[in-house]
Structures are given as structure tokens and as C-alpha cells.
């Protein structure tokens, strides 16, 4: 609560249906002065921001989770309802509700607004995306609309420069008004009340909105291809394939630049300091460790660039539509596609995104399999091993073999996720009913650079904070484990052979030897529990301390000379399945509210990892790759 503390300012809340452009409006009003946290006790994301109106009133703005109604069918929608009704103890009841509506698609938003009117709080209807509505020739009689609704109406174009000026001026006046609305008793609307509200909304639309004679057909024409039963699926697969090729190849120059920079820094520190513990700590522990994680920032940003572009374009809902039957066959909801796709970046936001699935059973299945999707933390491990062991060849002159192996690893994650959810459906929910799949398909919109940049900035910040805190402390820990106790006087082997790390790694040897892991890998697996990518840095630390400067420059070379191909493949396969991420497990515990589901997830993933690595290693050895 530090930045967005209550300064005695006004409290406004944004509420609206999904796809109303609510978040774009939130970004436009608050800029980068926003803070993302959780509502206490639940895992619903709380987005709050602070802004000042032109005449200096300070306003605390919260962006409530999107909803079609206050009936609250999911934890997200419950938060929205409770904040609006002032039932949430931790949250100041909003002084003003800004109901955000997509000006091109008013029907459902106006029904929500009519429902909100009954709450008795001051309301303002914001017709967002008014620029698009005007361009399409949709005529909205604002005065008539406001009069019919009995609610003031203002227009906005959140993604345009100056598009929120009118709104800001209006908020300025409203912020000065300290009049509090009357509190009313609220009851969930009945079926007939919902129907009556929709009828009323339709009547008002008829009176105040004129649709163009020639409707916009862009979305329909695009959907004819993108939602085509065959072409649509082919395009979806092609998009995913391009995404992974891009992550692998586009990021290369930037990554080389970053790793070159850290190497230079390490060398500078090495030269500036006398040989000894401090030199080793700074170069091997700090610079090498943090550098080998930050180097993957370009890949993470490219992946998120794709996800954000697809989301803003409106393709994500289409992907859910195309995947529904395929996912449904595996016992997953079409909506699970979005959380699972987000899990490609990181299982943690993915698991948290399962909140959009209102059925508990679907949600649990999705949470359980989300960690199997190849998250970006695995990319460092995969790329390191692939670069070291898979020849950099082109197949048929255009597909990189390394990229193909990467694609295979992703595919293995997806297939196993579908398999596990199918089994979960069979074992846990054989007799349970199938929940509905219902979802609005928004019109396509050109993604706006500003919102993409904002999204990327938030991701980069999150990743770097993680690299700077968790990973850095893990690096210091592993450097300590690898450096102490110091070798005895007159020791002949490398220093690390006498360290705590070696003791732990060797203790695990009998268990992990059958899957082809040496003790250096075992050492790296332990800090890898904090975050998978730490394993790379850990291997670097282990081998650079052992092998000196040459090995530190190229962890990959070190691995290529010290591991057999069978071991490398076994590690790759291990990383497809292993529950190597303490934060993910913690989030599962938090989201499901039970240790049981966390333990089940941990157990099944560990079992899969061990089994798959065992098979891979032994088959590879049998084929002569040992």
C-alpha cells in the first residue's frame, strides 16, 4: 500500500463487461502509476492506480474484474460485487462507479448498467472506443441515452492520445462533489428481472442508437478464414509454430549482446580485484549468476509480445473457440486455453488466469496441468542444452533443427497436459456434470503500440524483479554451497569437490544415477526449485568454479564436454515434467486453498519426470548415445 496509499483522495472504480476496453482506459488514466497486488485472502488480482484531475483532486482508481452481472459466479466476479456493494472490509467503497462500455457493442453493457443503477451509487457511463463506433457510422444520441438511462454519459477513446480528455474534465467535477450516494439493499436479480433489464436496454438502444446501413464486415471476413473448421486450426498451429521459432531465433543477437556485456563486466571485476573470495563471489556468484538469467529477457519479451498482440487483436477468444472440442475431449474447458497459453510464459499468471473458469472442476484440472506447459523459465535450460548438443543445421533449407527440437519439447508439454487432464477427468470427475462453454467473440481490433509497450514493460519489470531478488539470493546461496568448506591444504581435485554442494549432489546420486544425472546436475536441481532458470546459473556456477574462466565463458561448451548426449536428453525430458518451481506450487496451494492439490500436482509431476527421464536415458544409452 505504499505508492497507492489513501491520500484522502476520492475512490473511483472501473466496472464493465469483458472486452469493454476497461483496462486500456485504466492504463490511459493512471499511466505507469499503478500497482498490482491481490485482494486479501483471495487470489483475485487487484489493480489500483492513482491520478490527479486537472484541478488537483487526487483519485484512487481501481480496475475491477470484468463481469456481465453482479450475480457473481466466479471468485473474480465476487470481488467486483463485494467492492461495488462495499462489502469488502479491506476496500473503501467507491464514491463513483465508472461503468465502461464498448460503444460498438452496447447491448450487454447497458443491461449491466441497469443492474448497477439498483445499487444506488453515483454512476457514470463511459462509452469507450467511441472513435471506432464513429468510424463505422454508428450514431449514438448521447443526450437521449443519458436521459433514458438516467445516468450521465461521456465518451472516450482510451487508446488515442487525448481520447480521455473529456472524461478527465468530467471526473474533475465529479471528484469535487463529495455527495455520497444512498445505500440500498441489494438482491441478486432473478431470471425475470434480468430479462426485463435486457428488454429495457434494447428499448433504449433502439431509441438512442442508429446502426449504419452498411455494417462493418471486417470481423466477419476475417472470421470466415480464422474460424474456418480446417483453415482456422491450421492457422492457429502456424501462429504457435512461428511464435516458437521467433522466440528461438529473433532473440539471438540481443542475447549475445547481453551475455557479452556481463562477460565484459565479469572480466573487468576479475582484473580489478585481487584473486580470492571476494573476486570469486562477485564474478562467479553475482555477475555470472544474474547475467545468465537476464540474458533470457529478450526471449520472454518476444513471447509476451505475441501473447499481448493476440490478446489485443481479439484472437484469444477465437483460439478458445477452435480448441474447445479438442480440449473438451481431454476434459478441459475451451476457456482453459487462455490460462494454458499464458502458462507458456509462466505457470503462475497462467494458474491465476484460471479464475476465468467458473466451474471448480474445470478450474482444478487446468491448474493441475498448467505447470506442464513449457514456461519461459524452461527456455534457458532448453536453449542451453539444445545449443550444446543439437547441431545447428537447417532442415530442407528453412527449418532450424534446434528450433524443431524446441518445438518438440513444447509439443511434449502440451500432449502430456492433455493426457493428464484426460486421466484426471477419468479418475476424479467421472460422474460429474459437464459445465457450459459460453464466451463472447469480440470484434477484431488493431493492437495499439502503447498498450503493448505498457504490457511488455510490466512483464519485464516482473521478470527483472524476480531475477533481482529470488534468483540473486539463490545465486549467493549456491555460490556459498559450492565454495564452502574450502578445500583442505594440498588438495588435488577441483575446489568444488570438497564443498557442501558436492556432498548434497553425491547424496542424491544413487536416486538419480539411473536417469543419467551426475552430481553437478543434482546440485543444480536444488536451487532450481526456486525457479527453473536458476538451474542454468547454478550449472554455470558449479562448472565455472570447477573449470575456471574458460568454462565460465561458455557453460554450453562445458556441458558438451562433460555430459553424454543421453544425459543431456534425460535432463531435457526431466524439465518437461519435473515440478521444479516452488512458487508455482505455492500458487497452486493458494488458488486451490488446499495442500492436497498441491501435493497431488507435485507427486504426479515428479513421478512423470523420473519415469520419462529413466526411459529416455536408457533408450538413448541403448542406441549408443551414452
Amino acid at each position: 500500500m505504499s505508492v497507492i496509499a489513501d491520500h484522502g483522495g476520492r475512490h473511483f472504480a472501473l466496472i464493465g463487461t469483458p472486452n469493454s476496453g476497461k483496462t486500456a482506459l485504466f492504463n490511459a488514466l493512471t499511466g505507469s502509476r499503478q500497482k498490482v497486488a491481490n485482494y486479501p485472502g483471495v487470489t483475485v488480482e487487484r489493480k489500483a492506480g492513482l491520478f490527479r484531475t486537472p484541478s488537483g483532486h487526487s483519485v484512487n482508481l481501481i480496475d475491477l474484474p470484468g463481469t456481465y452481472s453482479l450475480r457473481a459466479r466466479s471468485p473474480d466476479e465476487q470481488v467486483t460485487r463485494d467492492v461495488v456493494l462495499g462489502r469488502l472490509a479491506s476496500e473503501t467503497r467507491p464514491d463513483l462507479l465508472l461503468c465502461v462500455a464498448d460503444a460498438t457493442n452496447l447491448r450487454l453493457a447497458l443491461r449491466l448498467l441497469i443492474e448497477l443503477k439498483r445499487v444506488g451509487r453515483p454512476l457514470l457511463l463511459v462509452l469507450n472506443m467511441i472513435d471506432i463506433a464513429r468510424r463505422r457510422g454508428i450514431e449514438i444520441d448521447l443526450e437521449r441515452l443519458a436521459a433514458e438511462l438516467g445516468v450521465p454519459v461521456i465518451t472516450a477513446a482510451a487508446v488515442r492520445r487525448g481520447g480521455t480528455d473529456d472524461l478527465m474534465r468530467r471526473l474533475d467535477t465529479l471528484a469535487a462533489d463529495k455527495h455520497a450516494g444512498a445505500a440500498t439493499e441489494w438482491k441478486a436479480p432473478t431470471t425475470s428481472e434480468l430479462r426485463a433489464a435486457q428488454r429495457e436496454a434494447d428499448r433504449i438502444i433502439k431509441a438512442a442508437v442508429r446502426m449504419p446501413a452498411k455494417p462493418d464486415t471486417l470481423t466477419a471476413r476475417l472470421d470466415a478464414v480464422l474460424l474456418h473448421p480446417v483453415a482456422g486450426l491450421v492457422i492457429l498451429l502456424a501462429i504457435l509454430f512461428v511464435m516458437f521459432q521467433a522466440v528461438f531465433t529473433w532473440a539471438q543477437p540481443l542475447m549475445e549482446l547481453i551475455s557479452g556485456g556481463f562477460d565484459a563486466l565479469g572480466t573487468a571485476v576479475h582484473d580489478a580485484l585481487p584473486a580470492g573470495l571476494l573476486q570469486s563471489f562477485l564474478q562467479d556468484g553475482v555477475i555470472n549468476g544474474v547475467g545468465s538469467v537476464i540474458v533470457f529477457l529478450p526471449q520472454i519479451l518476444i513471447l509476451f509480445l505475441f501473447i499481448l498482440l493476440l490478446e489485443d487483436f481479439g484472437y484469444m477468444a477465437r483460439a478458445a473457440f477452435l480448441m474447445d472440442r479438442i480440449m473438451g475431449g481431454a476434459g478441459l474447458h475451451g476457456r482453459a486455453f487462455i490460462p494454458l497459453l499464458s502458462s507458456f510464459a509462466c505457470a503462475i499468471p497462467g494458474i491465476m488466469a484460471t479464475r476465468v473458469i467458473d466451474n471448480p472442476r474445470d478450474r482444478l484440472t487446468t491448474i493441475m496441468v498448467a505447470p506442464l506447459m513449457t514456461c519461459s523459465a524452461r527456455i534457458p535450460v532448453y536453449t542451453l542444452i539444445i545449443a550444446a548438443f543439437i547441431p545447428n543445421k537447417q532442415l530442407w533449407g528453412l527449418i532450424s533443427l534446434q528450433g524443431l527440437v524446441m518445438f518438440g519439447l513444447y509439443a511434449a508439454g502440451i500432449v502430456s497436459a492433455l493426457g493428464v487432464s484426460f486421466l484426471a477427468k477419468f479418475f476424479f470427475w467421472r460422474d460429474d456434470p459437464t459445465p457450459p462453454f459460453m464466451l463472447e467473440l469480440p470484434d477484431y481490433k488493431l493492437p495499439r503500440p502503447r498498450s503493448i509497450v505498457m504490457g511488455l514493460y510490466m512483464r519485464a519489470k516482473m521478470f527483472l524483479q524476480r531475477a533481482g531478488t529470488t534468483i540473486f539470493s539463490m545465486m549467493v546461496l549456491i555460490w556459498f554451497l559450492a565454495s564452502f568448506p574450502r578445500p583442505p591444504a594440498g588438495a588435488t581435485g577441483p575446489a568444488i569437490d570438497y564443498s557442501l554442494a558436492a556432498i548434497i549432489g553425491k547424496a542424491l546420486e544413487p536416486v538419480l544415477a539411473p536417469v543419467g544425472f551426475n552430481w553437478q546436475i543434482n546440485v543444480a536441481l536444488i536451487p532450481g526449485m526456486a525457479a527453473r532458470e536458476v538451474a542454468v546459473a547454478a550449472l554455470g556456477t558449479v562448472y565455472s568454479i570447477e573449470g575456471g574462466k574458460e568454462a565460465a565463458e561458455q557453460i554450453g561448451h562445458a556441458l558438451a564436454s562433460k555430459w553424454s548426449l543421453a544425459t543431456a536428453l534425460s535432463v531435457l525430458v526431466w524439465y518437461i515434467f519435473a515440478p521444479q518451481c516452488a512458487s508455482t506450487l505455492a500458487v497452486i496451494k493458494r488458488e486451490t486453498g488446499s495442500w492436497r492439490w498441491m501435493a497431488i500436482t507435485f507427486g504426479y509431476m515428479l513421478a512423470l519426470a523420473y519415469l520419462a527421464s529413466l526411459i529416455t536415458y536408457n533408450v538413448a544409452v541403448a542406441l549408443g548415445a551414452g
Binding site: 447491448r107 457450459p436 459460453m438
Partner: protein, 90 residues
């Protein structure tokens, strides 16, 4: 379920791609939904499926022609044919 027996009304769940019409009634028959009583109807209304709304089936999935993308007045909604059985069209 009067609508079910009346020959001029049909289920949206059975309608082919390209079907155009208007919603005559929402009536959740037995086996259409596993949700609590009335819940499917409320959710359908919240997505704009109300009596009189213009309907067109725009797209369908590759397996079992499911799910379907339905134009409801000026918005598009995706749903499975199973739930669409509760929507009677004319």
C-alpha cells in the same frame, strides 16, 4: 416445454451453419444443462439471448460441428450445441 412440441419452432442446437432467425423462447429442457435450476437461462440472458433477438449461426467447429459461433443482434457469442438446445428459434 410447449416449444419443443411445436413444429414451427426449432432448437438452435440442431440448426445448421448459416441458419438465420429470431429467438422465440429460452427453455432449459431436461439434460441440457447440469447447472443449478435456472442458471443456464440466466447466463444465456446475460450473453444477450433474449426473446426476439436476431440469430445467425456463423461458424461451427470441426469435430461434431461443435461449438458454434452465433451472431446475436450485433454481437457474436460462442457456445456449445448442448447449451444451444435451450434456445428455441423461429
Amino acid at each position: 416445454m410447449e416449444a419443443e412440441n411445436s413444429p414451427e419452432y426449432s432448437c438452435l442446437g440442431h440448426a445448421p451453419r448459416g441458419f438465420r432467425g429470431r429467438i422465440h423462447a429460452i427453455a432449459v429442457g431436461r439434460g441440457v444443462s447440469d447447472l443449478p435450476d435456472g442458471e443456464l437461462e440466466r447466463r444465456l440472458i446475460e450473453l444477450g439471448f433474449t426473446e426476439g433477438a436476431r440469430i445467425e449461426i456463423l461458424h461451427e467447429g470441426i469435430f461434431g460441428r461443435d461449438p458454434i459461433a452465433v451472431r446475436v443482434n450485433d454481437a457474436t457469442v460462442a457456445l456449445r450445441r448442448r447449451e444451444a438446445m435451450a434456445i428455441f428459434v423461429i
